[in-house]
Point group: D3
Chain length 321, copies 6
C-alpha cells in the first residue's frame, strides 16, 4: 500500500477534486532565501518522495531546488539550487529555470523545465539520485513553456508535450506533442489541443498548457492541464483534464468542458499573481484509485488537492467538449 | 407595508449606502452548476420576489436563470437556465446571456440582457409569470451592453438606456437613451451622460453604464450606475447615482461626484475579477423611503446594500458634478 | 441610351474591372478649400449627374459637398458644404460628415453618411433637388460606419447595410442589415457577411464594409464592398463584390474570393493614406451592361473604374468563397 | 532620546525590515472625505511629528493634507487639503497633488509632490510652521514623478532625485538627479540608477523611483526606493535600498539585489490597487540606529515598518547588484 | 539686399507657401556616408550661409554635420560629424544627435538638437565660427524633442520652446516654453500650445512641435511648427504657423487652423518615413518680406519652400483657431 | 564560364551592391492569377536556372510555384502551385506556403519555406527535377520563419538557420542555427546573431532573418540577411551581410554595420507593403567573383542586384559591428 498523501472528500463537497485542508502545503518562506515556492514537481523516490521546487528568491530570480519528504506533506528543500553538470551537451547555459516537471523513465529521473536561453525554452536534465544532476540539450528553439514528458516511450521514442509561446506574458498558447529518438533531436511535431471558443468553455479560451506527467489509465493518458481566461483585470488560471489516446497521444479522446479546480481560496486569489491555480505534478495510485495534485497557487505558494482517478475519468468523459 | 429586504444603517456609519451584514446574499455556488452568481436582477412578484440571475457555470459559460424568494434574501434559483420561445421575432439566436435587468411595464415583466449575437448587444424578452419566457428582436446592432428599460413609457414610447461598446474589455463607454414605439424598432438615440474628466471624478473616468431600473421620484428619475477607473492593475468598478429629468430623461439634472459604493470588502476585492461593485437591481418603496440594491461583487457573488431614497437624492444634489 | 461615363477595356487587360485612363477623375484640389476629395457618391439627376462629395479642407475637417456634372467626368463641386435643415427631427447635431452615399427611393434622393455624434454613426438626410437638404434622425447608436441604403423597400421597409465599429481606426468590422418602417426607428438587425479567414481570402480578413448602393440584377443584389488586410505597414483597402438574395438580402448567394480592384497605381498607393481603394458609388445600366464605379484613392483623390455587369456577376459566381 | 515610533523585530523574524504589528497605521477613512490615505510623508516637528498626507477623496480626486502626531502612530489629519500661497512664482496651477515628500533644509520644511500641470510633474512648496504653505515653480517640464530632495545642499546647490515618466501608467522609469542654485531653475541632470535586467533582480526590472528623503550615513546616502515588476496581472511594487556617494550622489555605491519589503499581507495585496508597497518617508535616528518607514499599501492605507540602519547598510552592501 | 534663396510664387498657385521647383534641395546622398539628410538647420554666416545638417549614415546612426553655402541652395557638407568640446560642463555624453536648430544670440551661434542621453533630451552647444564647437549641459531631463531657442533674450533670460515626449514614437506632444538665466539651469516652464481637437483641425491633433527659430515681426513671434495626425497607416506630418506674444511668448495670439504645407509631392510621400514635412529652419528678411523654409521630407531629403511674411501673418490671423 | 545574370556597376556608383537596371526582374502579374511575386528563390539547374516563387494570388493566398529560365532574367513560372507528395512523413498539412529558399545538397534540391501549420513554421521538401516534389516533417514547432539550409553538411549534420517568431507581425526576431542528422529530428539549437542596439545600427534593431543560402568563401560563410527598423510609419526592411565561421557557423566573424541595400526606388518604396527589400536567393560564382541577389521588393515584385564577392567580403570586414 502506498503512502500517497491523502484526505477523503469533505462531507459537504460533491466536487471531483478537493483541496488539502492545511493548504498551502509548501509556504512561500519554506527556505530562507525564498520569496515564493510554487509550480513545483514531486515524484516517488527511495520509499518516500523527492521534489524539484521552483523557488524564486527575494531578488525574484527563478531557479529550481531539490527537496525530499517522507509523506509528501512535510518537505525538506535544499537551500541551494540544483547545480547541473554537462549531460549530452556542453552547452548548458541557463539564464533562469522555472516550472519544473519530473518523471522516471527506464533508468533515471528526467526533469524538464522552462529554461532561459535567449528567452524561455524547454530545458532537459536527468538524475539518478537527486544528488548529481545532468543537463542536456534544450528540446526546442525559444520560445516555449510547459514541456512535459510522457512516462514511457511511445512507438520507441520519447514524447513531450509543450506550449509554443512568445517572450512575454504570452496571450495565446496551444498544446503540441514532439518526439525524439534520443532526447537530443526532436521532431514530428503535432498539434494536440487548442484553446476553446469563448462561448464553449471560457476558462480555457486564452491559453492552455500541460501540467503534471500524463497518467496511463485504461481510458488513455489522463492529462491535467491549466487553462487561462483573460479578464479585464488579468489572467485567471484554472485546471482541467483531458484523456489522450494511449498509442496516438496527439489524439484527444475527451477533454473537460468545466474546470476541475479554479482559484477560489484566499491563497489562490491573493499573492504575487492573483487568481492562479497551476498544476505541475500528480502522485497517483491506479490500484488505490487516488491522485494527489500539487499546484502553484497565486505564483506564491504550493497547494495540494485530491481526487479519485475513476471519478475524474468519468467526469471528463461525461463533461467533454 | 412592504417586505423589502432591510437593515438599518450601522451605528458607526455615516455613509449614504450601507451593506447587508450577511453579504454576500447569494453565494457563488448557490446552484450546483454555478461558478459564480452575480450582476443579477430582482423584482416584486406574486407577494414576494422573482429574480433573473446571471449564473456562469463551471465551463464559464454565461446564462440567465429564474429564481424566487419570499423575502428577497433567501433565494431558490432554478437549476436550468431560462428557455425562451419566439416573441416578436423568430430570430432568437443567443451565444450567451448575461447581466440581466427586469422591469414590469403595463402588463408584463420585461427582461433585458447582454445578448451574444455576433458580439454583445441588448437582448429583450418578456414573461407574464416567470415560467414562460418570450424573446424579441435585439434592440440594437452590436456592440452594446447594459441595456436598461424605464419602468413606464415616456411620451408614448418605450425608453432604454444603453452603453455602446466594442467587442472586448471596452476601455470607453458612455450612457445613451433610445426610444421605441413597439419594442421592435428603436431610434431617437441621444447621449445622456459621458465619462468624467480624470481630475473631476476619477472613479467614473473610463466608462459608465446604467445599473438598476430608474426609480421615479419627485426629483426625477433616480438612476444608479456603475463607473470604472483604469488603474495600473486593471479596472475598478464603483457605483454612483444620477437624477434624470422626468419628461426628458436624456437631460441630467444631478450626478454624484463621489461614488456611493466602492469595492472595499474582501468579497468585493477578491474573486474572479477583483474590485468590482456592479449594481443591477433596486427594490424600493417611495413610501417607506427605502431602497435595497443588488449588486455583483468581484464578478463572483451577489451583494446587497441599503439606503434611504430621500438621503440619496439629497446627497446627489449636494455633491453633484 | 444613357450617358454613363465609359471606356472600353484596354486591349492588354483581362481584368473584370479596369480603370479610367485619365484617373484621378476628381483631383485633391478641385475646390479651393480642399485638401482631398474622395469616398464620394454620384447619382443620375436631371439629365446628368449630381454628386455628394467628401471634401476634407486644409484643416482636415471632413464635410460633404454637392456637385453636378453633365457627363460624370467633369464636375462642378460647390465651394460650401451642404447645409441641412431639420427633417424628421430637430436634433441635427453633426461634428463631421464623411463617406456619403446617395440613392433615389420613391420620391427623393436619400443621403447617408458617417455622422459625427459623440463618435461616428450613420447620418440620414434627403433632398428633392440637391439644393435644399433635410437631415433626419441618425439610424443607429454610435459607433457605426458605411451605412448604405437599398434602392427600394424590401418587404415594405427601408433596408440599410452598415458596419458596426469602434471610435478609432477600428481593427474589425462585419456587414449587417437593418430595417425601418419609417426612416426613423430601426430594427431587425441581421449579420450579412463577416470577414474571411486569413488563409481563404486575406485581402478581406480584417474588416469589410458596404460600398455603392446595391444594384438589382437577375442574380440578386450586386453589392460592391471594400475589404481590408492589416499588413505590418498598415491597412490596405481593396474592392470585392457579393450577390445578395433579392428578397432576403441578409442571405449571401455569392461573394468574390479574389478582389476586383486593389491599390496598384501611384495615386492609389501614395497620398494621405497609402494603399486605399474605397468604392462609394456605381452608375450603371443593366440594359447596356455597364457599371462605372467611383472610388476614393489613397484618401486623397477620386478614381473611376469600369466593368460589364454580366461579366462581374459571372466572375463572382465562378470565384465565390 | 528620540520618540521615533518603534517596535523590536519579532522573535520569529530574521528580516532586515519588519512591519508594525498594528498596521495599517493610517486607515483609509481616517478623515471623513477620504477614500484612501497612502503614499504620505512625515517629519519631526515641534517635539512631535508633522505629516503631509495623500488623501484621495470619494470622487477619487488626489490632494495633500497636513497632519500632526505626538508619537508618529496616532495622527490628526486636517479635513481640508493644504491651501498654497504664491511662493517664488505666481503660477501655482495644480490639477491635482499626490505622493508628497517633506524635508527640512536650513530654515524651512520643503515639500515636493507630483503636481498636475498639463500632466504630472514635480511640484515644490515650503512651510515654516505647517500652517502657511507657499508654492514655488515646478521643478521640471512634465512628465515626471517621485521628486525627492536631499536634506542638505550638495556643492552649494539643492539636489533632487526624480523619475521622468509619461502621462499614463508609465511602463518604464529610471532615477535621475538634478541640481538647482535657487529652487527655481534646475539643471545638471544625471542618470543615477536604472531598472535592472529581468534575470538579475526582477522585482525592480520595470521601473524604479526614489522614496523617502535620503539619509546621510557614514557609508553614504541611504536611499530607499520602490521597484516594479510587470506581472501578467499588473504591476507589483516592492521596496529596496541603495547607498549613494556622499559627495557625488549620482554615483551608486551599493544597491540591494533582493527587495527589503514586498507586498505580502492582506492590506498590501488587497485594496484599490493590489500588491503595492510604496515608501515615502523614513523617520530615523542614527544614534539609536533606528529607522521607521512609512509606506503606502495597496494605494489604500498607510503602513509602517522598522529596521536598524546598521543592519540595512550591511545588508545592502552584502547583497549588492 | 540679401541673397536669401528665392523663387516667386508659381503662376498657377494661390498657396501662401510654395515649393522650390528643384526640390529636394539637399539629396539623401549628398555626402558619401549618408543614408538621408533631412530635418536640418541653416543660418546666415560670413556673407553666405552655414548649416547644421542631420545626416543619418548607412548604419542609420543619427548625427549632425556642419555645412556651408554661398546661396543657400548649393551646399558643401562636411564628411565628418561635428566634434564637440566641453562647454559649460564636462558631461558631454551623446548617444546620438538629430533634428538640429541654429540661432545667433548676442555673440555666438547656439545649436540645439535632440541629444541621446538615456533617451532623447535637448542638447545645447555653441560655436563662434562653425569650426570649433562647444557642448553645454542638456537643457532638460529626458524625454524631450524639438528644443528651439528664441533669437534674443526675453526679460533678460534665454527662452526655449520644447516638446516633452516619451522614449518611443510618442503618440502625444504639446509645446512648452522654459527660461534660463545662464543656459545651464532652466525653469519657469509654461505650456504654450496643445494639440487640437480632432474635429477642429485634425492635421495637428496628435502632436505638435516647434520648427524654425521664431521670427520677430510686428505682430509677434512668427513660429512655424509641425503637426501630426495619426492615420490608420501611420503619422502624417504637416506644417502650420502661430503668432506668439512678443513679451509673453507663452501666450498664443493666433494659430493657423489650416496647414500651410502638407506632404503632397513624391519626395514628401515616399521615402524612409512616408508623408513627412518637418520644418527646422527659416531664412528671412523682414525688409524684403521673404521667408525661405528648409524642411525634412519623408525623413530622407531636405526640401525648400518660400513665402511672403506679410501674407503668412495675414493668413494666420484670418484663419486662426 | 557561367551564365549568371550580370551587369557591371554603373559608372556613377560606388556602392558595393547595385541594382539591375531593368528591375523589377519579375513583375507582379507575371502569371495570370498573381497579385504579387516576391521573396522567391532560384538555383542553377539543368544548364539554366530553376526557381521557386512566392506568388500571392488575387485572393491574397500565399503559395509557391516552380519556374524556369535560361538566363536568370526571363522566367517562365508555372501557373499552378507546387503539389507535394509525402516525403519522410504523411503529415503534409499546409495552410499556406511563402518565402521559399532552395539549395542543392548531395543528390537533390531541398526547399524550405514558411509553412502554415497552426501558424507559421519551417516547411521542408525536396525535388530531384522540379517536377515531382516531396514534403517532409516540419523542422520546428511554430512559430518560426526564414528557415535557410546550409549548402553542405556540417560535422555530418544538416544545418539550418531560422528565426523564431510569434504568430503575427512579430516585433522581435534573432537568427538561430539548428542541426539534424536526418532532416527529420532537429536539435542543438544555438543563437547565432541578435538584433543590434538602436544606437549602433538602427536598420537592424527590430528583427533580423537569414536570406539566401550561405555562400562558402575563404573567409567563412557569407550570409546575406534582412534587418528591420520599426519607424513611426511601419517596418522598413534592408539587407546586410555577415561572415560566419566555416566550421562553427554559430560563430559570427564579421557583420555589416551599414546596410548593403535599402528601399530607395519607387518599386521598393511603393507597393503592397512599402519599404521592403527582402533577399531570398543569390546566384554566385566564386571564380568569376560575382553574386546576383534576388530580393522581394515592397512585397509586390522581385528585384535583382549585383555585387563582387571579394568586395562584399572586404566591405563587411572593414565595416563590421
Amino acid at each position: 500500500m502506498s503512502n500517497i498523501p491523502w484526505q477523503e472528500r469533505p462531507a459537504d463537497s460533491t466536487d471531483v477534486i478537493w483541496r488539502y485542508d492545511a493548504n498551502p502545503v509548501v509556504k512561500r518562506d519554506a527556505i530562507p532565501s525564498s520569496n515564493s515556492i510554487f509550480n513545483s514537481a514531486v515524484v516517488e523516490f527511495d520509499g518516500g518522495y523527492a521534489g524539484v521546487f521552483r523557488c524564486d528568491n527575494k531578488a525574484v530570480q527563478m531557479n529550481i531546488f531539490a527537496g525530499f519528504s517522507k509523506d509528501g506533506i512535510n518537505w525538506e528543500i535544499n537551500h541551494d539550487p540544483i547545480s547541473f553538470q554537462a549531460g549530452n551537451t556542453d552547452m548548458i547555459e541557463s539564464d533562469y529555470k522555472y516550472d519544473p516537471r519530473v518523471v522516471f523513465i527506464e533508468d533515471r529521473y528526467w526533469i524538464t523545465w522552462c529554461n532561459g536561453y535567449h528567452g524561455p525554452t524547454i530545458g532537459i536534465g536527468y538524475t539518478f539520485d537527486f544528488k548529481d544532476f545532468f543537463q542536456c540539450e534544450n528540446a526546442f528553439l525559444p520560445f516555449n513553456r510547459n514541456g512535459v514528458l510522457f512516462p514511457e516511450k511511445i512507438d520507441g521514442k520519447y514524447a513531450m508535450l509543450s506550449r509554443p509561446s512568445d517572450n512575454g506574458h504570452t496571450p495565446f498558447g496551444d498544446i503540441y506533442i514532439s518526439y525524439s529518438p534520443d532526447m537530443k533531436y526532436w521532431g514530428e511535431h503535432r498539434c494536440v489541443m487548442k484553446v476553446t471558443p469563448f462561448t464553449e468553455s471560457a476558462w480555457q479560451c486564452t491559453k492552455i498548457g500541460a501540467g503534471p506527467i500524463p497518467i496511463l489509465t485504461e481510458e488513455g493518458w489522463l492529462t491535467f492541464y491549466h487553462g487561462v481566461i483573460n479578464t479585464c483585470n488579468g489572467f485567471r488560471y484554472s485546471m482541467g483534464a483531458a484523456i489522450l489516446d494511449k498509442d496516438r497521444p496527439d489524439k484527444v479522446l475527451y477533454r473537460s468542458k468545466p474546470y476541475l479546480l479554479s482559484p477560489q481560496t484566499p491563497y489562490e486569489c491573493m499573492g504575487d499573481v492573483p487568481n492562479v491555480v497551476f498544476p505541475c505534478a500528480a502522485l497517483h495510485s491506479i490500484e488505490e484509485d487516488k491522485v494527489a495534485i500539487y499546484y502553484g497557487a497565486a505564483d506564491t505558494v504550493t497547494g495540494l488537492a485530491f481526487g479519485r482517478i475513476s471519478e475524474i475519468l468519468k467526469f471528463v468523459k461525461e463533461n467533454s467538449l
